[in-house]
């Protein structure tokens, strides 16, 4: 059984009477340990699909299962709990909590999980050292560069030991050097720690490194390709 199983997923938005079919019956499997990219132009439905897999939204039809569990759970609180324990997120705009330091941002998810302070603090420091930011642990997001913020976001995403990390255009706001550093980091986490990554991007720098690329266009999967050997 795949870690992620999406079957016949459709998503329809209606805004002021205008209907938009963002996804039109998508099937997708993601296995544990994958480094997979959802690629496609803007409006192809890749972020929508990522949101549905991330339990941030619910499909209009079809099912999305995470490790066999249907994500159509009844309450917002239960969905939040599932995101907390099973999913990690890296966003395009970094989205660190501005009033918390780098360490506190990484600790935040563990705090929500109920990890005691004496455990989560050294773990946060260790994760920041792993992403090369041990010296910036006490800096707030606005005191760091975009690349540094995104690396903190990666540390935060894996701090809760999720089953999969979903990264939505993680390099879109980074320069080439920072993007390369970030991708090196993500690749090493995937390779060394077995962290599963699913990207949504049209950035060729990520697509080139992906082991599998799923192309979407107009809400449909149009091509599946394994671009690199595992």
């Amino acid at each position: 059984m795949a870690l992620i199983e999406a079957r016949g997923v459709t998503k329809v938005y209606e805004t002021r009477g205008v209907r938009t079919d963002a996804l039109r019956g998508v099937d997708l499997d993601v296995e544990a340990g994958e480094f997979t990219v959802l690629a496609g132009p803007s409006g192809s439905g890749k972020t929508t699909l990522l949101n549905l897999i991330g339990a941030l939204d619910t499909p209009s039809a079809g099912t999305v299962c995470l490790d066999g569990a249907d994500l159509s759970l009844p309450s917002a609180a239960q969905l939040a709990d599932l995101r907390l324990h099973s999913l990690g997120f890296v966003f395009q705009a970094f989205n660190l909590i501005p009033v918390l330091s780098a360490r506190e941002n990484v600790e935040f998810v563990m705090d929500l999980q109920g990890v005691p302070a004496r455990e989560r603090r050294p773990r946060a420091i260790s994760l920041l050292e792993e992403v090369g930011l041990g010296a910036l642990a006490d800096k707030r997001p606005m005191e760091m560069s975009g690349g540094q913020q995104q690396r903190v976001a990666v540390a935060r995403a894996i701090a809760g030991k999720p089953q999969i990390v979903l990264a939505d255009e993680p390099t879109a706001n980074l320069d080439s050097a920072s993007a390369a550093q970030l991708l090196d980091l993500m690749e090493s986490l995937n390779r060394d720690r077995g962290v599963t990554f699913l990207f949504s991007t049209h950035d060729s720098r990520i697509i080139d490194r992906a082991r599998r690329t799923v192309h979407l266009s107009d809400g449909l999967v149009v091509e599946r390709a394994s671009s690199r050997a595992a």
Binding site: R83, I97, P98, V99
Partner: protein
């Protein structure tokens, strides 16, 4: 549905005790320092204004009661039965050298004084005026009331016989000064008119205008034979220890005074005072209520703005797995911090202002203050409830003010919120 509400409320309460909820809330309060400072100042000024209003109102009420008790009423009065319905010479008590029973040694009684009351006309060589004539024991009266301390001209009775003390306004109406002669024309106990000559020993000004306008004090033992009531009085006034249990003391005095007498406390003798005290308190309470309603809308507005501004952030918190209940608890905590900080600063300001006012506000120039019998100074005073009520109100205000923002935040769906980023 009810279970769902209870579950959400329980989850919010659990989230509320998480230290990280408060840490995040505290940082959020500090992130927009200017806006938080404005709300804090508004709350502080509101609380201070409200508390000072309460303090002045309570101080005014206290001053009215204190003035009435200290100048004329005493805390308790003993009369012959029926005196309050017909306060004339028909209802008299035997004069005692000491209070009866165990009252002579009752620690709750600080002073007592006998009085004989009647009404008549006072004549000077230049004018005449209707007047209340009160016979007093100067020494005992001095221990009981403000009369001796209120002398502004002449002396307190002095050593010579047939001396009278006149209120300042009455002296002005009669156009007399100390040493001048006046004639008192009064009815004795049988209704016969008698006229007696007195000299003005002293002129007094008390905080009670009606006393100054129409009262003449003479020695009790000189008035009794004029009225034909030797050994008899109209009332015994008692000043009690303010910390004592007045109703209990009244009961002891009643028991000791025996049949044919009635004992009244100051509030029974002057129910208007009770009404005025309640009126002042209600007035201050209404103003305080208005302050808190204004504070409620101010904080609610700020919190709502803070929520709308932070929609993407709430989306991120939700995406990271922060439960909606905890997001709600964080908003309530932010609102509580603003209110409680405002309350603390407001209370501090109030302390400072009251300390600056020192021995009170001089109201001697205000006719209204005299008319209400407030006296010459109002000392702002606060009771325990004056501190606790606003504290509870501040918490309630914060919670109510955060309800709309919390509901707004709970409706935010992470996917929609992230589109605002």
């Amino acid at each position: 549905m009810r279970n769902g509400f209870l579950q959400r409320a329980g989850a919010t309460l659990r989230a509320f005790v998480e230290p990280s909820t408060w840490r995040l809330a505290w940082r959020n309060v500090g992130r927009n320092g200017r806006r938080s400072a404005i709300v804090l100042c508004a709350a502080a000024v509101g609380v201070c204004g409200g508390l000072l209003t309460m303090a002045v109102s309570y101080g005014t009420a206290l001053a009215m009661v204190e003035t009435a008790i200290a100048t004329e009423l005493g805390h308790l009065q003993i009369h012959a039965q029926g005196f309050n319905d017909d306060p004339g010479l028909a209802h008299r008590l035997p004069q005692m050298s000491e209070l009866g029973g165990d009252l002579a040694h009752d620690p709750a009684i600080l002073a007592w004084a006998p009085r004989l009351r009647t009404e008549g006309l006072a004549y000077s060589s230049r004018a005449s005026a209707g007047t209340r004539v009160v016979g007093v024991d100067p020494e005992r009266e001095s221990e009981l009331s403000l009369l001796e301390r209120s002398v502004i001209a002449g002396e307190y009775f002095g050593p010579k016989k047939r001396r009278a003390m006149l209120g300042a306004d009455l002296a002005a109406r009669l156009r007399v000064e100390t040493g001048d002669k006046i004639v008192l024309s009064i009815q004795d106990k049988d209704g016969e008119m008698v006229s007696e000559l007195f000299r003005v020993a002293g002129i007094f000004r008390t905080p009670l205008p009606e006393l100054d306008q129409a009262t003449i004090f003479v020695r009790l033992h000189e008035l009794q034979p004029i009225l034909g009531v030797v050994g008899e009085i109209s009332e015994t006034a008692i000043r009690a220890d303010p910390k004592s249990d007045l109703p209990a003391l009244a009961n002891r005095v009643r028991a000791a005074s025996g049949v044919g007498t009635e004992v009244h406390t100051w509030d029974q003798l002057r129910p208007i005072l009770v009404f005025l005290v309640a009126f002042f308190e209600a007035q201050a309470g209404a103003m305080y209520g208005a302050v808190f309603i204004a504070m409620l809308f101010g904080i609610a507005n700020v919190m709502l703005m803070a929520v709308v501004e932070r929609i993407p952030e709430f989306g991120i918190l939700g995406a990271l797995g922060m439960p909606p209940a905890r997001i709600g608890a964080m908003i309530v905590a932010e609102s509580l911090m603003l209110s409680l900080l405002g309350l603390a600063v407001g209370i501090g300001l109030t302390f400072a202002v009251i300390a600056l006012l020192g021995d009170g506000i001089d109201v001697s120039r205000f006719t209204m203050a005299r008319a209400y019998g407030v006296g010459f100074r109002i000392v702002p005073a606060l009771r325990f409830s004056d501190w606790t009520v606003p504290s509870i109100a501040a918490v309630a205000t914060a919670i109510v003010a955060s309800l709309a923002p919390v509901l707004r935040a709970r409706r935010i769906r992470p996917a929609e919120a992230l589109r605002h980023v």
